[in-house]
Subunit: 438 residues, 2 copies
Amino acid sequence: MKVVVPNSNLPRVLIIGGGFGGLAVANALRNKPFQVVLIDRHNYHTFQPLLYQVATGGLEADSIAFPIRKIFNTHDNIVFRVANVTGIDPEGKRVETDLGALTYDYLVLATGSTTNFFGMKDVEEYACGMKTVVESLDLRHLILQNFEDAHQDLDPLERDQLTNFVVVGGGPTGVETAGALAELKRNVLPHDYPELDLRQMEIHLIEAGDRLLAGMSDKSSEEAKDTLERLGVNLMLNTQVTGYDGKTVTTNKSAKGIVAATVIWAAGIKGVVPDGIEDTSIGRGNRLQVDEFNRVKGYEDVFAIGDVASMSTEAYPNGHPQVAPAAMQMGERVGRNIIRLVKGAPLKPFEYFDKGSMATIGRNRAVVDFRKIHMKGWIAWVTWMFVHLLFLIGFRNRAVVFVNWVWSYFTYDKGVRLIIRPYKRKVELDHLDPVATP
Amino acid sequence: MKVVVPNSNLPRVLIIGGGFGGLAVANALRNKPFQVVLIDRHNYHTFQPLLYQVATGGLEADSIAFPIRKIFNTHDNIVFRVANVTGIDPEGKRVETDLGALTYDYLVLATGSTTNFFGMKDVEEYACGMKTVVESLDLRHLILQNFEDAHQDLDPLERDQLTNFVVVGGGPTGVETAGALAELKRNVLPHDYPELDLRQMEIHLIEAGDRLLAGMSDKSSEEAKDTLERLGVNLMLNTQVTGYDGKTVTTNKSAKGIVAATVIWAAGIKGVVPDGIEDTSIGRGNRLQVDEFNRVKGYEDVFAIGDVASMSTEAYPNGHPQVAPAAMQMGERVGRNIIRLVKGAPLKPFEYFDKGSMATIGRNRAVVDFRKIHMKGWIAWVTWMFVHLLFLIGFRNRAVVFVNWVWSYFTYDKGVRLIIRPYKRKVELDHLDPVATP
C-alpha cells in the first residue's frame, strides 16, 4: 500500500512533523523545485509554549492550535498528510505510515520530543504529561473534576488527594504551571467552590537541582523562587521523585510522601526517534546526533532538526536548547541547504542565534534573559505576552488569545473552566463515586 | 449514599438541568429563602443554537459553553452539582443520582430534549446528532477526517461516500447546518484540499414536509429555499428517510438512495424524562404534560419547563415551541410561583411572549419573523448575529464569538478546522485505512 500523492518529477523532500521546525523547512522550500510532503499525526500545529494555559483553564485549545493545511494551502508544491509514521527504511529511502509507504529523496525528521519519565513506570502510568493538546485538555478536565469530586462524603485524606497538586520539574513549564495553579487558587476557585476550604489546597513544585529555571540567569531563578513562594507554592529543591502510585508521591527526601491525585510531570523530555534509525545515531536524551548541517550521523540524506536533534558545538557540547527558536532556525537552514545540495553548492553550517529565554510566573510577573539583559516584573510579563502573541500562527488565534488575556487581566478570571470530556483517573480513590462519562 | 449539600432549614428546590430553563429558575430564586440545588451532567451551560457552528469549524466549543459555577458563584443559596440523574421517587420526594440521593421540597425538571430518531435504530446507530458539545466536536472531527481520508487510493464510490453530506430536517438547525456546509464547500475546502475535486462534494437537505422552516412564515421558507439552492444545496422536500447503514441513506422517494458516510440528523427532538415519572404524564414527543403553572400532570410539587414540558393552550394545543425563550420564560415563572406557593399566594399562570424566530443561511443571509414583521438578507443576518451575541452568557464568550465572526466575515474563512480527537466511524468504509487515534 502506498500513500497517494500527486505525480511529480521533482525531488521529494519528506518532512515528518509539523512543529516549529518542520514548518520552517516547508516554508523554506515553498515554490522551489521540490515536491515537499509534510506528515503529522495531527492536522494542526501546536503552539506548545501555551499548553499550560490550556491545562489551567486560561485559554481554549483551539486558539493555540492551527490547521496545517491553512498555512500552506496556496502553495502547490507542498502536500500535507495526517499520518502516523510506523518506521523508516533508510536503505530503501522509504517511510512507512499507517496510510502506506512513501519514498523520499531527502528526509527531514522534525519529530520533536515527548515527556521523559526516566524509566519510572509508575510515574508514567499515573502522572500527567503536558506535551499535546489532548494531554492538556485531559489535565484541565482532571483538575476541575477533582474539585467537583471533593464535594463528596470523603475523609480528610481523600479530600487532600483531590485538592493537592504536585508539579515536577522547575524549568519554564513547571514554573509557569505552578504559577497558574496558584492564581487559580487565589482568584478563581474560592468563588467557584464556596463549600470547600481552599486554604487546604496545596501546590508543590519539586525540582531535582538546586535552583529553578536552570537554563536562565541566577537573577531569574531567584525571582521565580521568590514569586512562587509569595504565591503560596511549596518549593522543594534538591528533591527527586522516586515513585507515584496515583495517590502519593514519594521523594528521596520523604518516605511518607505527598498526598496528591494529580501530578503534572514537566521534569524532562526525550527525542522521538522513529523505528529504523540505527541506535548508534542516537545520543543523550534520545536525540539524534547530527553534524553541522543537521545530517543525522551515519546517513547522507536524512536530516534531523529541533528537539530530536543534537548538534555538539563548542558553546553547546550537549546540543542546542530544545526551544522553538532553535527548531525554527535549524529548519530554515536545512531547507536552504537542501536547495544548495541539489544545485551542487556547498552546504552552510548551522549557526544558532540565541533569542534569550523567558518564563511567566502568575499574573503580572515574568523573567526575561536576553544576553546580558535581565528583566523582571510587569515589564517582563508584557514582553512575554507580546513575544508569545507574535509567534502564534494566524490572526484569529492571536485575537482570541489576546481577548482571553485582556479579559483575565481585568477580571482575575480564567474563563475556560469546562469539563467537556471527563478524564478517567487511572487509580480510583477509595470512597469516590466516579461521575459517569456522558 | 447521599449527595452532600450544606445543611439548611430552608425549603429545597431541586432543579435538574442547567439549560436556559433551569438557569432561569435558579436565577429567579437567587437570594430568596430557599436552598436551591442545581444538577447538570456537565459543569457548563451549552448555548445550543450555535452548536452547528462548532460542528462546521466556525466557532470553538469553549466559546459557546459557560461554566455554571461561574454564573452563581456569589450566590450562597445556590448549590451546584455535576451528576447524572438515574431516577426519581416522587412519593419519597427523592432524586437518585450517580453521586447518591437527594430529597426535595420542590422539583423542577428542566431536562431538555434529545435527538429523536423516531425509532429507526440504524439511523440512531450511524447518523450524527448535534445536541451536545461533544456531539458537535465529534461531527467536526468526522467532517474533516472525511476529507483527509478522501486522499487515499479509493474507488469513486468510496470517495463520494466521504465527500457527500446529508442533513435531515428542514428546521432552523438543518437549514443552518446545510448553509454552513455549503460555505465550507465554496470558501474553505477548495483551498485546504487542492488535490480533491470539490465540485464532486454534494450537500443534501432532506425534509419530510413540503417546505423548509415550517414554524416560520411562507416568505422565510421561500427565502431559505432559494438561498440554499443558490448555494448548491440539493433540497429534497416531501421526502422521508427510511434507513441508513452508515454508507447509504434510503428514502421513500429513492430505493437506490444517497451515498454518504456522514448524515447529520436534525429532524426532530424528544423530551428527556427521568425514570420514575408515571407514563400517564407523558404526551406527544415524550414531553411532560403540565398545567398552566407548569406542574406535571398528577404531581403537586413537580414542575417541568422548556423542551421537556408541554402545556396545551388555545394558541399552542400541542405545547409551546421548543426554543430558548419559551424555556427561559417558563423558568422565571416557575421560580416566582414557587416563591408564591411558600407564601400561600395564588399561583400565576404562564403566559408566553413570542419573541419570533430566525435562521441564518450561510454568509450574509438570514430570515427573521417577528409577529407581522419579516426580514431577510443582510439586515436579517446582522439581527441574527446581534441576538445570538446578546443571549450568549459571559463577556469573554461574546468577545471570542465576535472575533470569530468578524474574522470569518472579512476572510471567508472558518478557523477552527482541527481534528483534536479523531472520531471513529461506526462503519468502516471498504478500502479505507483508518488513522490510528493518537
